[in-house]
Symmetry: C2
Subunit: 500 residues, 2 copies
Amino acid sequence: MTGVGSAYATLEKRFARLSAIGGASAILQWDSAAIMPEGGSEARAEQMAALGLISHELLTDAAVGDLLDKAEADAASLNDWQRANLQEMRLRWRHATAVPADLVEAHSRATSRCEMTWRKAREEDDFASLSPSLTEVVRLTQEIAAAKSAAFDLSPYDALLSEYEPGCSRADIDPLFADLEAFLPDFLAEVRERQAAAPQIITPEGPFDPAIQKELGLDLMTALGFDFNHGRLDVSHHPFTGGIPDDVRLTTRYRQDDFTESLMGILHETGHALYEQGLPKEWRSQPVGLARGMALHESQSLLIEMQLSRGPEFLSFALPKIRKAFGGTGPAWDQENLLRLYLKVEPGFIRVDADEVTYPLHVILRYRLEKALLSGDLQVPDLPGAWNEGMKTLLGLTPPNDRFGCLQDIHWPGGAIGYFPTYTLGALSAAQIFASMSEALPDLSTQVRAGDFTAMMDWLRANVHSLGSSKSTAEILTQATGSPLGTDAFKRHLKARYLS
Amino acid sequence: MTGVGSAYATLEKRFARLSAIGGASAILQWDSAAIMPEGGSEARAEQMAALGLISHELLTDAAVGDLLDKAEADAASLNDWQRANLQEMRLRWRHATAVPADLVEAHSRATSRCEMTWRKAREEDDFASLSPSLTEVVRLTQEIAAAKSAAFDLSPYDALLSEYEPGCSRADIDPLFADLEAFLPDFLAEVRERQAAAPQIITPEGPFDPAIQKELGLDLMTALGFDFNHGRLDVSHHPFTGGIPDDVRLTTRYRQDDFTESLMGILHETGHALYEQGLPKEWRSQPVGLARGMALHESQSLLIEMQLSRGPEFLSFALPKIRKAFGGTGPAWDQENLLRLYLKVEPGFIRVDADEVTYPLHVILRYRLEKALLSGDLQVPDLPGAWNEGMKTLLGLTPPNDRFGCLQDIHWPGGAIGYFPTYTLGALSAAQIFASMSEALPDLSTQVRAGDFTAMMDWLRANVHSLGSSKSTAEILTQATGSPLGTDAFKRHLKARYLS
């Protein structure tokens, strides 16, 4: 590249190597979850630890700091993408160097231990057995937050949040969540009342052959534009999208008695996957070529799953395929009945099973509690009580036990404080992006009914995917939708879908 | 470990890290061959190159040489396995440091290019298009051989051979191969005459469902003792055994019109896999815990495939399963007919399709030619002529074209000179080990007929697998069979199987 400072060029080489190691780890991570025989887990843990350590050493090497200084001093010689890339490099370096290595290691060991304890504690509904190791994880996370707070000049919570959603802070989230908290309860009551008066839902009866569910999933993935030359669909216990942009590894799980869970799961993960596959090809090995953050990532999965796939237009296209796949006939397979099934709203205990109306309330509860845990206002042993109280206030439910309460999520035992809000930021973004896209593409409804997603994908590629991390989440969203993130589009979407 | 010198302990840590990176590479290698979507290949090449480079840097780091010196000076404080481990470390270090880094890189780039050229050249039967890049590979391999020759004080050919079969030299191979070359032609003629007089072979007719072939394969793997908690069976274009001892990834390919190819292929790879799974658990992350060499590895696959599985005892056990799997009835499924099918001897052009009688002649040809290529006595452009001449002398055949001649193998384009002899050393070892094992286990025939392979596997574990690289190939073989490697057991085996 002519005119590119040599410091910057050296950094690109270093980050390309980091990208290769990160890519190797991502494929191995997928392998562990999807196909590795159980007896391979110990050796795999050693492999992952070795690659993690090597990456950390490559990134925190003293030379990198000097190179960043030099490249920044010479930033005028770089083009926009290179400058954005340099910023991302600096951000990664700051995250990696902000925390002392022994603290990173202690945290990593504590979370591994706590996750294992959590699996057993959840199974046996035994919060007391988790409490000591979770206390330790929270304590170490507080230390990390303090270190990052100092390094980034952010509040401790914002410093953690910025790992998952760079540039986002409590000051951004609080008003959005307050607005939802004010809106949702009454709205929820109204939807519930209306759904109670609607015809009863008839659940299609299985068994549904997993091989046929898979064929159907592959068919819809293909229609949406998933590139199977750069990705696969497999099975894992917890569905996820892994791998790398050039080789996206998507997983689902199949239930014999219910095809909708895997179908909607596949569509959700396909949204994530399309984002990954649409990232800028010429920046594959550099930080600026990666997905912007968790909120935008979740917006792409929810845009496909919630905004698109649960709408009547998509169902018009997909229903003949679904009926044909399972030989479905009769009232259970009627479009109106299936839409009612897909859009059923009902407060429940479990976040991952929640509908799009009650989901934000689950997130608000966790956001509130994790802020209190981090600040020390809430002690781990008091978590079950605080959780149940919050569930009562927000969703009107009292969990029968901690398994259906504060033991359900792996995030905190895994040390991920500051992650939960991104789910709802994603839902808000999805609604806002889908609304703007629908305005920009007046024929979208007709196209979706016909199973033609080309214009939609072109729009998403141009306005979201291809930007990678070249701009901030706020910039991408504002540029794509004309306004910063708000709750209006989400509320309009909910009203249109559930009350009209 | 009490009493272990700190230099040695530091080396163990370094080699554990190398083992973890090597293990990651091995799984990714399997992934590339078995399940990776094609579009992932470029990114995968970057991942493999990054891991390879990191391993090379970790191994050739100046500190390692010092640590080896110190540990060797203090070797009296180590136990036998530690001392053997230290020897293996030194050997790896010598291989890695013997060749200048730029030569390694040039060789690696030239072989990648040549392999790609070879694929096309083979397909189009166009040796001329391969000749320049193969000449370059041979030239660089000569340079590497010269560098290793100096570092190891071995002849250039022996220096290359020692990478695949440490401790083995031309002086060991030449008399063995001369003996086979004297024995095989007459023997072959006699077998051919006898087989011509036998009842005509009836080939079972397909199609054979790959899913059923897989079930049958899994069944036999289980019977032989393959541990599915530490391994898998998948599909790839070229069958191989990959992964790591704790997670062995075995592959095969299925033909609809012939079940024997995949069945024998699975049994062959299972032999490799059982060796890997039987390596000493407590030395998993160290060089001394790895398989001894390619000859012993091939001996384990041929012991299962050739010695065991093509014998009448094994077929008594397996035939009811095979018949049941494919619903086979009638004369084609008769035990005598199937044995004749499995033991059919016929000179052919293609090594990988060869029977166990003609296979060594293919290897002898390649051994002769690759020595001449390396010494410069044979120039690459003259290879087709020399090949065809050798085929005529050794097997009485003239290849119709180079595709069925010198273009058939990937080894030389891949830079692997010194590998071919290990196939036949493996066949000789397999016969010798099987004979000794049969003597040590007088009930083996009865056990095999009953599908009980426990005693056999216990014997192989104790006498071969569990020794890892703690002794030389020659020591392991002599200890297990009472004599150094020879041709007697192999010739006795051939006579018993084909002429009695």
